[in-house]
């Protein structure tokens, strides 16, 4: 990629140079504005809190949140809570995504099974899964396993639906082509159905990261004794808004990191 850029640079015209510069300028403007909004937002919040323009009991303030973060980092509890929540999310994410993928493959393989189960899956999909969380936690357990199961339950149905639809949406002639080579069903799955759905699978992954976090926070609200969700709930029940805001802030940071990771993965995998 870099090499090609250099080759082009050698034969660049003045007009093209100007065009590239204008694109760059636009990109910088947008990025700088984005950063400024964040900085001014924080400054405004902090100033408003100090001048008693807002009630810090309800809104907390950036300084207080920062102090709390430093305190939590120093005594190691931030990382403990973060670690627990992240692990639960990763567990729920893999269970939901891989489970959903597996079931979607089974439904594709056994078409009749898919037709029989269709109404049940559709209803399960339109049901708000968080309503099931208390039941799942009672069934699976009041600890980590229950929280992971809650997280998985939120993403698995939508994964099944999306991937099954994608599997059946693969162009008929692409499959017929393989059949003319004498391919068996497993080869059709491995050489067309799955690779044709890689973009689909990646977008499911992106969505499922967010869904798993929802499941984990809901699960922690219900049963946990540790984790970011626990911190937020504990903070709100004891009216420590600093703690609640810190929890939300940390979640925001984690969400951003995971979003960039999945975008990077997408770029890494899809080259065509």
């Amino acid at each position: 990629m870099l090499k090609r850029k250099n080759e082009q640079a050698a034969i660049i015209s003045k007009e093209h140079e100007e065009y590239l510069r204008s694109i760059n300028r636009e990109r910088h403007f947008i990025r700088i504005t984005q950063i400024l909004i964040f900085i001014f937002g924080i400054i405004f919040w902090e100033l408003a809190a100090r001048k008693d323009l807002i009630d810090t009991f309800l809104t907390s303030s950036p300084g207080a949140i920062l102090n709390l973060i430093v305190k939590f980092i120093n005594d190691g509890s931030l990382f403990r809570h973060l670690f627990i929540s992240t692990m639960e999310t990763i567990g729920g994410f893999f269970a939901g995504t891989l489970g959903g993928l597996l079931i979607a493959i089974l439904l594709w393989w056994f078409r009749r099974l898919a037709l029989i189960l269709e109404p049940y899956i559709v209803i399960l999909n339109s049901l708000p899964k968080t309503a099931l969380a208390p039941i799942i936690i009672l069934w699976v357990g009041m600890g980590y396993s229950g929280i992971i199961a809650t997280a998985a339950s939120i993403s698995i149905v939508v994964t099944i639906m999306t991937l099954y639809t994608g599997f059946n949406g693969v162009e008929k002639d692409k499959i017929i082509l393989l059949k003319t080579f004498g391919a068996n069903k497993f080869q059709i799955l491995r050489k067309v159905i799955i690779p044709a759905n890689i973009p689909n699978i990646l977008s499911v992954i992106k969505v499922n990261i967010g869904l798993s976090w929802i499941g984990v926070i809901v699960g922690e609200f219900l049963v946990s004794k540790a984790g970011i969700g626990y911190l937020i709930l504990y903070g709100s029940q004891t009216f420590k808004l600093d703690l609640v805001m810190m929890g939300v802030f940390v979640l925001g940071v984690i969400a951003a990191i995971m979003y960039f990771l999945s975008s990077w993965l997408e770029k890494k995998i899809i080259k065509y």
């Binding site: 017929i176 393989l178 003319t180 080579f181 004498g182 690779p195 044709a196």
Partner: protein, 252 residues
Amino acid sequence: MEYICELRNVSKRFHTINNETKAIDDISFKVRKGEIVSIVGPSGSGKSTVLSIIAGLEQPSEGEVIVNTRSIGFMFQKDQLYEWRNVYKNCLLGLEVKNMDNEENKIKVKRMLEKYGLTNFKKHYPSQLSGGMRQRAALVRTLAIEPDLLLLDEPFSALDYQTRLSIGDEVGTILRNEKISTILVTHDIPEAVSISDRVIVFTERPAKIKKEYEIVFDDLSGERTPMKCRNTLTFGKYFREIWRDLDVEKEE
């Protein structure tokens, strides 16, 4: 004379909940080894169905299909290159499925890519190629398994006119030089006449064989290429006759 493929009184009906349609009705023909046969007919007359039956993708309702081949190559209207595989990987697809992707065959594929002017595009993805190049890559993919019978289902009709002429010329010449038995389905009469040894004209659905033409160019000197055939007087004669066959069909 050795035959590579024979259809005896083949009929095919398609069923839907509401009705049943007869696509082809009592079709019989033979294809000699190394022969290029075209099937022309109105659109929607079961031409493609005949190819599916020969390829074993569909079973005939009645009649018998005898195919004396080791492997059959099939080419479609759209190239059906897999967009997630580069050109080289696309060309290996058939060999992979047949578990024949050994070093020897890989070298053969590379040599074919070179022959068809695709070496520099080996690592390119299909979306980076022109329509003509894509169809050439599809041809390499099809020929890589060394089929002894090639089934072409309107393989050029998705290309623009100019590319279509030049690719048709190229492919027609390759098939003739390598003596690959071929059945070409098309609605393009000039394409059929210029490429084939024989043209079979189908009626409208349900398709029957209306006429058969042995295509012989006596006014041609040197190697027979589709492009040269197009410039002969005989070409025009065949064209007019087949055109009339299809036209009369429309008036009835």
